[in-house]
């Protein structure tokens, strides 16, 4: 039902301009400019990377279901893409689902946050009972290292730490739909009590495994949103985000950060240059720097979709990242700044893909 709803929404937004594969890449969170760009252009960025383990066959099956129900139909020219029908729109309007995603914002952060939370809860509830031999629920050296560090500080005070964590989670989960809170809690592992597998969750709630996964992701995104908005009220949960949101910003120079803050306040490049008494080219350098590190960098503010496509093609043709080579292959009106932005985006996405 949830996957069905999301797919139909995607088809509605894509309006036959992209194939089913692009939805697959979107939900999986494929690290390519094309996918990120599509997410923005078609206003589907909230769904980016919300189900990294989804299988193409599952998407195809639901698509067939939508087709049979008459909610979508083949595009007149492009047989492999679909457009939403009148009944499809009606169905979407009739069924609202209470679910919350901020995919492009959280696709990376939510995994680390969840792994840290699961492993620390398992560790503390076990050490509280003096049980030091348990099979860790999360296998990720970076997360293990983080948990070890926290554990050293919390050792001996497990009960009070867990109580505080409980209080914060209780406040947040209380604002969730009951089913979502339940699914979130069902996945937790504590002393002598292992969380449910996705299959077990699906069975318990009589939903598909994909939907169980999506509801669970939604609960994590909701928690992240609450905690980020009010880190003072949720000091314990904020701990789990430490080093995550700031990781990329810390790599940006102080001067570029200032530029970034002004950009966010709505200043134009000219205005920033004027206020900061810097040359416009310097501000451009800052923006390229930001694009290198910022996950949700709004590249389309500076380079239109068509221009991006043109530049990407030129990069492929030139088989080189030399600006001059690329510049000679694109339309006259595209400037070096725009090429550098696209290259920066690509570099960032490739780096994350490693």
């Amino acid at each position: 039902m949830i996957l069905k709803w999301i797919l139909l929404t995607c088809y509605k937004h894509l309006n036959g301009e992209r194939t089913t594969s692009s939805i697959f890449h979107l939900l999986k969170g494929k690290r390519s400019i094309q996918t990120v760009q599509d997410a923005h252009i078609y206003k589907l960025d909230q769904y980016y990377g919300i189900h990294k383990r989804i299988k193409k066959v599952d998407i195809d099956a639901v698509t067939q279901e939508l087709l049979r129900a008459g909610y979508i139909q083949h595009h007149a020219v492009n047989e492999s893409s679909f457009i939403i029908t009148g009944p499809g729109i009606e169905w979407l309007e009739k069924h609202t689902i209470d679910i919350f995603f901020k995919g492009l914002m959280y696709y990376e952060k939510s995994d680390v946050f969840l792994d840290r939370l699961l492993l620390l809860i398992q560790t503390l509830t076990n050490s509280k009972e003096n049980n030091f031999s348990f099979i860790p629920i999360v296998e990720n050296p970076k997360v293990e290292f983080w948990v070890k560090q926290i554990y050293r500080k919390v050792k001996g005070k497990e009960a009070s730490f867990l109580r505080n964590l409980y209080n914060e989670l209780h406040i947040i989960l209380n604002q969730f739909p009951d089913k979502e809170a339940e699914i979130f809690v069902d996945r937790l592992t504590a002393y002598k009590n292992f969380g449910l597998s996705l299959f077990q969750l699906a069975e318990k709630h009589q939903i598909t495994e994909d939907d169980a996964h999506l509801v669970h992701t939604s609960s994590i995104h909701r928690i992240l949103e609450k905690v980020e908005n009010d880190s003072i009220e949720f000091p314990v949960l904020s701990l789990f985000l430490k080093g995550l949101s700031n990781e990329m910003m810390s790599q940006i120079t102080i001067s570029a950060k200032e530029t970034y803050q002004l950009l966010q306040s709505g200043y134009t490049i000219e205005q920033i240059a004027f206020t900061r008494r810097l040359r416009e080219n310097t501000i451009n350098d800052h923006i390229v720097e930001i694009a290198l590190y910022l996950d949700d960098f709004p590249i389309w503010n500076y380079v239109k979709e068509q221009e991006q496509t043109e530049i990407l093609q030129a990069i492929n043709q030139a088989k080189s990242h030399k600006l001059k080579e690329i510049k000679s292959r694109v339309s006259e009106h595209i400037n070096y700044f725009q090429i550098r932005l696209v290259l920066a985006m690509q570099a960032r996405l490739q780096k994350q893909g490693d």
Partner: protein, 515 residues
Amino acid sequence: MDKEIVLEKELEKHFQFTSFREGQKEIIQDVLNGKNVLGILPTGSGKSICYQLPSVLLEGLTIVISPLISLMIDQVKKLKAHNFKKVASLNSFMNPMERRRVINNMHQYNLLFVSPELLQQEHIMKLLQRLQISLFVIDEAHCISQWGHEFRPDYLRLSGIIEKLGNPTILALSATATPSVQDDIISSLKKPKMRKHVYPMDKPNISFCVDKLENEQEKIEKIVELLSTYRVPTLIYFSSRNTAENVAKLLSEKLKEVQVAFYHAGMEPSDRMIIQQQYMNDQLDVICCTSAFGMGIDKANTRLIIHYHVPLQLESFIQEIGRAGRDGKSSVSLLLFSRQDINMPSNMIKNELPGQSVLSIVYQYLHHLYNEGKDLPDEEVEIENILQINEIQWRFLRYQLEKHGIIKENKIIATPETWKDVFQSIFHIIKSRNKHKENKLAEMLKWIHDDNCLRQSLYKSFQPFSSQATYQCCSNCGFSWNEWVPEQTVTEVKRQSNWQIQLKRLLIGDTNETK
């Protein structure tokens, strides 16, 4: 100080056990004295202590050869969980970076698990040759024998490897090896003076039942009937992953209050771990599983083991029922048989090794590579994908092709003129292996239809005599379900639908729970 007391102290210090189980100490003493040992210890008797303790006490590295990568990973995980940190594994599932990390830290480990095919790689051998290897352990040593139930060609090369490593002390371990397989192990390792420590494998606390039914429907009914009467930790073994899943779903629907799950090697590793741990922690009553479940699981109170399908040989059957009643209390093995079952195991046997059509694909593929002047891909997985065969099939073929001098590592070294005969003889080997397995299956079927005492006939090819049943003996000796009254274990419904209560329970604990 008396050496025996010292050993027990070490056992407690490192593994928190206060005493040895049958056979462990004798084997460990021999190993510590540098004697080569063949140890046959029944499933669940703590075979692994026989090398884990020496690995701590001996200077230098203990290498353990283990046939299944998943088993290896499980063991390392478990040892680490029990604060045994100086352990690592090397296998072909690891990416180069992980492997390098292990190789660079080699001097820090006491215990290293290695999959046999990795020992074929020269750089790994060179590395190991530079280290002091104090003990070389061959786990599941029956894999060395053509006549063992899980022959692994890679195991045949172990004697050469042992020699290259400067003949460290050898410990070969198995839970199920007939006397002829035992002899085969010793002669393959070229260590005729090996000391045999053979312990009886029969389980006096298990009652054996065979139920001959008409069809699947009746099997399900029987299982539902039993599980509604007995709420005890239960394993149901299947030969097919799909059937295991389907029956698990069916049972969940029919038996609302019983917690049922399935388990097989096709699941994500994290899901497999979750199910194992839930079963260990009494969160699940019943697991519908394939043979992938159970190795390395030391749950003491599994009471009932049901075989939904006919196992392919007595050895795997014995291994699987060995997971019941490790606490010595009365437990039951029930094998469900219907006439329709006979085709399935023979088909499985045919598919285990590559058939004629696969062989001709391999032939063509090699031909193609030869003409293009190319080598085989470095990644085994890639080859397996191209040829559409599984790991075991390819390992078998690789061994045969190397043995017959067609390939060496990844290079094709013979000209195609010679290939025809070789493929003919590989095909012969496959045929005779299949024949052997057919015979093993026939043995299994014969046991099912035996009118005499099932306990005696089950163990007779493994040991001269078996001990008296502690509780009821078998369905041929008048087993009655009415007389089987095991202690019912009630799995608490730990996952209730009120998330508030659940969250509090998990993080803070039961406030009204008496300690």
